[in-house]
């Protein structure tokens, strides 16, 4: 809207650099590491499902984990408590609209990624992959985005279509690959 970009050169610059291997200018002191050693940190999930681990979960399993580990802050059945509600929401109209999972989040994979990296708030990274799948299934089913007996796994999660998936405009297309 108000910004013109100064950085047309950046693309060429990056491509030129990426064509090179180990820079002559680098002291090359980084230590090689194997995939097995990386695995505990390798937690990024992409919208196409890249990164999703083996395992699965159902809404019923998720409900049990939820009452034990989440409801204290997010309320019974995700209705909200000291922290945000995880269920419901009206269609987005303007800046005063509440951004809920059902009304705003474009990808279901973000739910798995975020719960696994950040929740429960006081014990992040304490959930097993099975529990994260189950919680994801439970929250999606509370929001009627999947059926009550559907199973969520690496194949089904990326296929869940979120209502607001196409509700976005890229702000700086010339800076966005």
């Amino acid at each position: 809207m108000y910004t013109r970009s100064l950085c047309g050169f950046a693309v060429t610059f990056a491509l030129a650099l990426s064509a090179m291997v180990a820079s002559a200018q680098s002291p090359n002191l980084g230590k090689p590491i194997s995939p097995a050693e990386i695995a505990p940190w390798d937690i990024n999930i992409l919208p196409d499902g890249t990164g999703l681990p083996p395992g699965s979960g159902t809404p019923a399993e998720g409900a049990r984990v939820y009452s034990a580990k989440c409801s204290v802050c997010h309320g019974q059945d995700g209705k909200g408590g000291t922290s945000t509600r995880l269920v419901g929401g009206e269609p987005i109209k303007n800046m005063e609209s509440e951004k809920t999972i059902a009304s705003f989040w474009p990808y279901a994979t973000t739910l798995f990624d975020y719960i696994r990296r950040a929740m429960p708030w006081r014990q992040p990274r304490s959930l097993t992959n099975e529990e994260v799948y189950a919680l994801t299934a439970y929250i999606l089913s509370l929001n009627k985005l999947i059926g009550e007996s559907e199973t969520i796994n690496a194949l089904t999660l990326p296929k869940v279509r979120m209502p607001n998936r196409d509700g976005f405009i890229v702000r700086f297309p010339d800076r966005t690959p």
């Binding site: 610059f13 090179m20 922290s83 303007n94 005063e96 474009p106 006081r122 890229v170 800076r175």
Partner: protein, 438 residues
């Protein structure tokens, strides 16, 4: 009768040409030798109370020099304001008191901080930076190893995408510049160019993005185009010469000059190269401002050209008519500040402000204008332009494109993000300074 220096000063000041309405004077007035006239807030010669004496602190040895210095106890009121001082389970914001600072960089202890689950207490010897994904060889770097790399230093502002959000309110919220604009700060950052490290790992030709992640409890993660990562991104180890502060990412943070604060991942521990963005919580949901009609912006990377006046501003009352310096901060995520104009009549007439040198790209630029306030109501505004030709919008222009609230939100709420339009201060006859829309 012989004329005294003070008589001459008075005459000289009377003759000074205002360059815009309501007493704005030429920006080079100080440089032309006027400075001596302007040091006080009043020209009325004081009659009494000027007898000079030695005070107690001049008459006995002072305190022992401490090993780590702190400011004078008389400055203890210069503090950040905290949104969540008890560390309850929600985000904490600490805002910079711009109205009590001057110059172009923010002292480390007053740099703004946003922490989503508190500041982690990281042992630097155990911290690791991993680079993996679409690279020829995944690599791990320790702080000790990074300290041996060729480093660069640069000034850069960091600004939360939600800074200035109270100005989306339909009615002006009465609050200080700290409450309204305190989520931006500027520092000199020193560290290793990220391109050096990516290059060492060997970037795969398919890579288009990096996903950076912190070692904080929420493992905050953001996707950044590879072009930015290769262009001017830095793994910053030092902040204003000392190690990065715990709240700002100790022992290392990603610095993306000019880009949305939340993307400048603090406590950075991992960078994965990918073909596609992660659509993480903060880019898919939080930093996606909703537009009128219901669509939302995604990937609002750049902090656009902005300025605001810090002196005077709400909370800094005027001390009667006379001379003042209007000064403030301007910055742009698209390069250097080219020009700042200041108005004292709500935008009808404008005077060009002096820019403190050097003017650096994507850093704070301090602007200054001498002002003769005649005691009548005035509305102060500043407006900045950057070298890419971007103009800071008026509030009306921004609201036309982005909307505003229908109800007045609490001052620390974030109705939307990326507000970069003009701020207006009304100077009342009483000397009080108020936030207004003009």
């Amino acid at each position: 009768m012989p004329t005294t220096p003070s008589d001459r000063a008075k005459r000289k000041l009377k003759n000074l040409e205002a360059v815009a309405a309501n007493g704005l004077l030429h920006r080079r007035l100080f440089l032309r030798g006027g400075a001596a006239l302007m040091t006080g807030y009043t020209l009325v010669p004081s009659a009494a109370g000027q007898q000079l004496t030695d005070d107690a602190w001049s008459l006995a040895p002072g305190v022992t020099v401490p090993d780590y210095g702190t400011r004078s106890r008389f400055e203890n009121n210069v503090v950040r304001t905290l949104s969540n001082p008890k560390g309850e389970p929600r985000t904490q914001h600490a805002r910079t008191p711009h109205h009590l600072l001057n110059g172009t960089f923010t002292p480390n202890s007053l740099h703004f901080v946003i922490s989503h689950a508190g500041d982690p207490d990281i042992d630097p010897d155990k911290h690791r930076l991993l680079i993996h994904g679409l690279v020829k060889q995944p690599l791990v770097f320790t702080l000790g190893v990074l300290a041996r790399y060729p480093m660069v230093s640069r000034m850069a502002f960091v600004e939360c995408g939600g800074n200035s959000a109270p100005l989306f309110s339909s009615e002006p919220i009465q609050a200080s510049v700290q409450a309204l604009h305190g989520l931006v700060s500027s520092a000199e950052w020193t560290g290793v160019p990220l391109s050096t490290l990516l290059d060492e790992a060997g970037v795969d030709a398919k890579a288009r993005w990096i996903i950076a992640e912190g070692a904080d409890p929420p493992h905050l993660s953001r996707s950044v185009p590879l072009t930015k990562a290769m262009d001017d991104a830095m793994i910053a180890l030092y902040q204003n010469g000392e190690r990065v502060m715990p709240g700002n990412g100790y022992p290392m943070r990603l610095l993306l000059p000019g880009w949305e604060g939340n993307m400048n991942i603090k406590w950075v521990r991992r960078i994965q190269l990918t073909e596609k963005p992660g659509m993480t919580f903060y880019e898919a949901r939080t930093y996606a401002p909703i537009l009128p009609g219901g669509k939302a912006y995604r990937f609002y990377f750049i902090q656009e050209v902005k300025s605001f006046i810090t002196h005077p501003s709400p909370g800094l009352a005027m001390q009667g008519p006379g001379f003042y310096e209007i000064s403030g901060i301007a910055y742009s995520g698209s390069g250097r500040i080219a020009k700042v104009m200041v108005s004292a009549d709500g935008g009808k007439s404008w005077a060009q402000a002096a820019l403190e040198q050097p003017v650096l790209s994507m850093a704070f630029t301090r602007f200054r204008v001498p002002w003769r306030w005649d005691g009548s109501p005035a509305v102060l505004q500043s407006r900045a332009w950057d070298e890419a030709g971007n103009e800071q919008p008026t509030r009306a222009q921004l609201v036309a494109a982005r909307g505003e609230t229908t109800r007045v939100p609490p001052v620390n709420a974030f109705p939307s993000q990326h507000y970069n339009a003009i701020t207006s201060w009304s100077v009342e006859r009483s000397g009080e300074v108020k936030h207004v829309y003009a």
